[in-house]
């Protein structure tokens, strides 16, 4: 079609049909927003919402998704998998480990290519990575077009936070070659967070969020400051040692050993047997996320011998403990990297396919305090499917910006707009306490809030009303570590040996220290007097921080006219 080439250039906003695409090494998914602004993940023609990012060629015919994945057994040389991270990369910098069982990447001019037999006949062709990605995008676009009944021509695509400019450019080019105008590339953890924040029941709050995106071949964790619905990434970590394939490997080895016990043949030594083992191990892992027991069975696993076995979840959790511990360390590490403590994290979002694993969610429950919400299917009944978060977030963003001129999008996402000052300390008021000299710090604007920012708070006046002093101060959050007081000896008689032993055991447990989050009051910024307040009324304090860190403070009794207003000059 002639229109195919034309739509690669920017289309007018009115003609856009935009979707959200999450494009992964292992799986991709597509989502669209319906009329009522709800994002919905679309199934492809096979009925899959998680579409394996795999392309395979048989007699010149192209297979994609689950159908291509099956070809890893019989037709591995003409099957391309795990290619997303190769886009825009030098051959030397890629890790081809995951491609051993499929077509191998090779150096081709300045880029990476695959030699596959993608046409009828025996002739092989060299297909560049960018063409492979274009073909994948074309399939995703087709599935979305079939679903919506209208030609989809634009998309918001999610990318990892460590994608460089070259990778972004390569991805954009591949998508536009497939006839998709890339409206914006957004970061994967932000897309996941947006998917949750866009739900009608969620409120805009200031919170620190950890998004753990546990995928097939990599795990990415980000700590995000969410302030007034705006997101700032404080720290990220990327790991390639602890991911879904490593859990598959644990099951693979477990069942391979069992098979050897009966047959003295190692199915891992034969490529086709290994491919079968791999596919079934992944299916068993998925079953163990849903049920407490799962079957593992492969027809003709090695040398024509069938194999069937079962495993329960507890056994799986035991043999996979090393990998689970790896996830824990990764997540704890990035919280530390952000300069935060687990006590300062309000929300943990588990995203990505591997996040379906119940054990990972329960580990998060024990790492973080009870006040932290862990958003995963097994800990929060209302949690969104972790596999769908990114595509949903991308679709929501697509629906927000599809009416914009592409020039507007470009200008709005320009660093001049996105790079702003963020507060180092929280700003708050000292609220009423018994001692008039001391107050309790109540944060109004949290640390790491982007300026300009405006927040309003209501504080109560003393019981009897009267004149009130409003003190605006800076505050820092600290972790107070205290050891609980040793238990007082219950009674003086030490005659029985038992009680001595008990107290010794107790003292062994005692060093369990108590950690709590406390506010330390810093710099006093301003004081304002509100006179003659009525009994039981409230004072409204509004703090407005400008771009240049100048502060405007307005304080007045609720319902009263006028009030006190003052400015602080910028530092």
């Amino acid at each position: 079609m002639a229109a195919e080439g034309a739509s690669a250039t920017a289309s007018a906003p009115g003609e856009r049909i935009a979707i959200g695409i999450s494009f992964g090494n292992s799986n991709s998914s597509i989502a669209i927003t319906s009329v009522d602004d709800k994002a919905e993940v679309i199934a492809n023609e096979d009925g899959d919402r998680q579409i394996p990012s795999i392309l395979s060629y048989v007699d010149g015919e192209e297979y994609n998704g689950q159908q291509a994945k099956q070809q890893l057994i019989r037709n591995s040389n003409n099957t391309v998998a795990y290619f997303r991270d190769f886009l825009g990369q030098d051959f030397k910098s890629i890790d081809p480990t995951h491609c051993h069982a499929s077509a191998h990447p090779q150096e081709h001019e300045s880029t990476i290519a695959f030699t596959i037999q993608d046409k009828e006949g025996d002739e092989k062709s060299t297909v560049t990575i960018s063409e492979i990605a274009t073909r994948q995008f074309r399939r995703l676009k087709q599935s979305a077009t079939d679903f919506s009944g209208k030609e989809v021509n634009s998309a918001v695509i999610t990318i990892p936070t460590n994608f460089n400019e070259k990778q972004k450019a390569a991805l954009t080019k591949s998508a536009s070659d497939a006839g998709l105008e890339v409206l914006q590339l957004i970061h994967e953890p932000i897309a996941a967070l947006l998917a949750y924040d866009a739900r009608p029941e969620s409120k805009v709050e200031d919170k620190n969020v950890v998004v753990a995106d546990l995928g097939g071949t990599r795990s990415d964790v980000a700590v995000i400051a969410s302030r007034g619905g705006m997101y700032t990434i404080l720290a990220t970590a990327h790991d390639y040692e602890y991911a879904g394939v490593h859990l598959d490997k644990v099951l693979q080895d477990h069942f391979a050993k069992e098979f050897i016990k009966w047959n003295s043949i190692d199915p891992r030594e034969n490529a086709r047997s290994l491919a079968k083992l791999k596919l079934e191990a992944e299916a068993t892992k998925k079953a163990l996320s849903i049920g407490t027991n799962a079957n593992f069975s492969v027809e003709s696993l090695a040398e024509g011998i069938d194999f069937a076995s079962t495993i329960n979840r507890l056994r799986y959790e035991t043999i996979a403990r090393k990998v689970f511990d790896g996830f824990n360390r990764l997540i704890e590490g990035v919280v530390k990297k952000a300069g935060l403590d687990v006590l300062e994290i309000d929300e943990v979002i588990l995203s990505g396919g591997t996040s379906h694993t119940p054990k990972i969610a329960s580990n998060m429950r024990s790492i973080f305090p009870e006040t932290t919400t862990v958003l995963a299917p097994s800990t929060t009944p209302t949690a969104i499917n972790p596999s769908e978060l990114q595509a949903r977030g991308a679709a929501l963003q697509a629906s927000l910006i599809q009416e914009y001129e592409s020039e507007d999008i470009e200008q709005s996402t320009h660093p001049a707009v996105t790079t702003v000052k963020h507060l180092t300390n929280a700003i708050g008021v000292l609220a009423i306490s018994g001692d008039p000299k001391q107050g309790i710090f109540t944060p109004v604007i949290s640390a790491e809030t982007a300026v300009p920012a405006r927040r309003t708070i209501h504080i109560s006046v003393p019981k009897e009303g009267g004149d009130v002093l409003v003190k605006i101060v800076e505050g820092g959050s600290h972790i107070k570590v205290s050891k609980p007081d040793p238990k007082p000896k219950t009674n003086g008689n030490k005659d029985s040996d038992d009680s001595d032993e008990d107290s010794e055991e107790d003292s062994d447990d005692e060093p369990e220290e108590q950690r709590e989050r406390v506010w330390k009051v810093g710099n006093v910024l301003a004081e304002a007097a509100i006179r003659d307040t009525k009994k039981g009324s409230k004072i409204e304090v509004m703090i407005n921080v400008a771009n240049d860190l100048g502060v405007t403070i307005t304080a007045r009794e609720v319902g009263a006219k006028g009030g006190v207003r003052g400015n602080l000059s910028p530092p």
């Binding site: 932000i190 702003v420 009267g466 009130v468």
Partner: protein, 53 residues
Amino acid sequence: PVLPEGWAGEKDFKTTGRLSAATQRSIEPVGPHFLAHARRARHKRTFSEDDRI
């Protein structure tokens, strides 16, 4: 706290400090609140001006 005796300030307001230095960071250009921020930034509007529109 309760207003101490003899406290006085110009129009009942007294400045005693300034904000400490801030860090430059990047906001993620995603979500409805960011788009509102970008709109204000590009038109150089303040919050209250934006509220009125």
